[in-house]
Symmetry: C2
Subunit: 453 residues, 2 copies
């Protein structure tokens, strides 16, 4: 069935779609600062009701409510879970905003400005308005829809997993997606990510004497900073191989589809633009082309965010620092579980004689996931993107951005329609109005295509 | 010949010795702040003339003058060079001084307070008053004496080497010593150091992209902090062995005398007091006893004073830091030349693929030195200390403290008479008046004993 009728409704009702997004952006909803969250949830519920969609509050243990709605198709259908969030990042620094500041929703030259305009209020409304279009034009939606709109995504969804665990039945679906992604710089088509790396934050702390000791005593005193250097050296080698025993156990093995995606992507993105942006003449280890894309997508990483010990000011200070700290982020690739990774790291340090180094692993690491391009949800989204954008999307095996509901296993795709330069998490966040309206069509096409599978 | 006559003169003229030290302490002479230096040099010259000693100014390229005097014995004799300095450390923090502040010279309960009272104005006067005592009592000194009193020791003697190079004849001597040392905590006898480690300050700087890059790009971007970790790991192993090729070339080989000194010292010092002070249960690598003393004295070291890279504040920052720095001090043991050490370190980094890491070596590293306990100057000082203090001094193969004139090779000993708790370089620097008078006798006994060799 052609989608033209639905697209026509969206075009004809563009003013309503844009006005609702403005109203939505004008309602602050900063999860990190606990500002306006319940008000914003209420607004979401109210707008959904006005659009003829079901929506009710689900209270979490703490924090603002999840807005949940379940809309069934008339004929027996699969179910797609539409995940989005109504909270936004803090708007600071305020003086770097133009166009009336973070809560204006002002439109200038076809671009709407405001915190949340891209991330993720336009995503919320893309789902809602797409569903409304179907109801208005056809009197039914092409697939069962579940809407899950949470208010703590930007702070790592601290209460969502516990709620999900108690609501497995409610969450059951055949596919899940969110429109929290974007377009790769240099392309005009959505990124489609068939999985997500997980970010594991770890701080290692080595301690020594009860105070900094004069360095003439070096032969007699443990040096925490040297201990940390030696310990780190056992974790990652210069070929960027993680040496922790069993780290890659259960790791996703690339198949022909994955290789094909890498080849396709390498043909479409301009890696030299990245080198120029970063001011480097070549990538690490001389990687380039499809190898660079493969490494960036699938390599488990052990980054050092920061390291500090002792005295680093002007001049000299002849001390053996009694404490040294290193802050790391490990990117876990599918299907390495964060809890396993922490356990393996601790066992590794112990085994190599660094059991005295304290390991602080930060809570809230989402497990990574990966689905096949052959999944119905993958195929539906690729078909929808091709239809709406006129060419194939950029398909990523795994993405490193965002966090998503992962208690209940549902094949899940991250994609998005935001224009490059949308400044999400930064001042002057914005969305091109035409991209937003196109995004609603994209959401509608996904529903349609998934309904056909 | 008994020294009693000379000691008696010192006791009888204690008031004069103490008054001169007060007057000397009351004249500020802060080399780091260029305060009062020429005035202090003038006072030194004036006091030497009043004591019947030769003294004249030698102007350096920059900075305050060296005060130099040459006093010959009547009979043909060896020559001993008495090195000392009239400049002092900055007195800050001023509000932590009691007893009238840093320039009072006030005596309370037999202790004189003031900056320089120990380091090194009492040392200067110990030489002068000892020589005066000989002249007064015997009409001659027992050995040819050269006095070299400089004014920039506390800032690393930046102009002295160039002057020494032009004045080799003037500096010629059979032995050299200075009284800039002290007593080991827990003993009441002077430390006698037959050499000095050198401290080589080095900063290593690794640089990467032109800005911090998001850590999801880790597979594509060089990580300067990892580069530094890997580079450091090639420099020192966990057994504290420096791995730089040829680092120990020309290193002092311990002989039976050196081993004997270590055994003697181990029998006299309380290493558990050090552990308690530092709050540790054991020394690094389980060292103890004579092994600990040997390592502390003779092991070349590669200490990390400080290290910094990226973000280390609260929370997380998913960046690959584009710069990392480590500040090190290498203690060079005899007879490793600092310039050779820097060259070897650079070659080592280059060879191991870290040639891109910048090596900043700080100027002003004095070469280390080491003399035999059998040298006349060593024997004279040990005999003098035994005579004046009633027991053998603690003899160190090498000391790690202080800096000394080293352009012209003269067997040189560092020793001292300051009481433990003299707070040198700290507020309430002080010297026990009885220790000061004993120090004058020590200086006299050294002259006498060296004259006999």
């Amino acid at each position: 069935m052609s989608m033209q009728d639905v697209y026509d409704w969206i075009d004809a009702n563009a003013d309503e779609c844009v006005r609702d997004l403005q109203r939505f952006v004008q309602q602050p909803s900063i999860s990190a600062q606990n500002v306006g969250l319940r008000e914003c949830a209420t607004l979401v519920r109210e707008m959904m009701h006005a659009d003829g969609l079901p929506a009710e509050f689900h209270e979490l243990d703490e924090g603002p409510p999840v807005v949940f709605g379940h809309l069934e198709a008339k004929k027996p259908s699969k179910t797609i879970l539409c995940y989005s969030h109504y909270d936004v990042q803090p708007p600071e620094p305020l003086d770097e905003w133009t166009h009336g500041g973070p809560w204006s929703g002002e439109i200038v030259d076809g671009v709407m400005y405001g915190r949340g305009s891209t991330d993720n209020k336009s995503g919320v409304l893309a789902f809602n308005k797409a569903a409304k279009a179907f109801l208005q034009v056809r009197g039914e939606v092409p697939v069962n829809l579940k809407f899950l709109i949470e208010g703590e995504e930007e702070i790592g969804s601290p209460n969502l997993a516990a709620w999900a665990e108690k609501n497995e039945e409610l969450l059951k679906a055949d596919g899940m997606h969110c429109l929290d992604g974007s377009m790769e710089t240099g392309t005009q088509v959505p990124d489609v990510s068939l999985g997500l790396k997980s970010v594991l934050f770890v701080e290692l702390i080595a301690r020594g004497a009860k105070m900094d000791v004069h360095s003439l005593n070096f032969p007699l005193v443990e040096s925490p900073v040297w201990e940390l250097v030696w310990a780190l050296n056992t974790i990652l080698d210069r070929d960027r191989k993680i040496l922790v025993e069993g780290w890659e156990e259960g790791i996703w093995q690339l198949g022909p589809d994955d290789e094909q995606q890498l080849t396709d992507k390498a043909a479409r993105v301009d890696l030299n633009a990245l080198k120029e942006e970063w001011g480097i003449s070549e990538f690490a280890l001389g990687r380039d082309g499809v190898d660079a894309i493969r490494a960036r997508t699938y390599e488990p990483t052990a980054n050092i965010q920061g390291m500090i010990a002792g005295y680093t000011g002007p001049g000299r200070k002849t001390i053996i620092p009694n404490e040294a700290r290193v802050r790391m982020d490990f990117r876990l690739i599918p299907n390495i579980q964060p809890a396993d990774a922490i356990r393996k790291l601790k066992a590794h340090l112990e085994k190599h004689g660094f059991g005295h180094i304290e390991v602080q692993a930060f809570d809230g690491a989402e497990p990574p996931y990966k689905i096949s391009v052959k999944e119905d949800i993958s195929q539906a989204i690729i078909a929808a993107a091709t239809e709406v954008y006129g060419e194939l999307p950029v398909v990523n095996g795994v993405s490193a951005e965002g966090a998503i509901l992962r208690h209940v296993w549902i094949p899940c795709v991250l994609t998005g329609f935001a224009n490059p330069g949308a400044n999400l998490h930064a001042p002057d966040e914005n969305i091109r109005v035409d991209r937003y309206l196109q995004g609603i069509k994209y959401a509608a096409a996904i529903m349609e295509h998934f309904g056909r599978t």
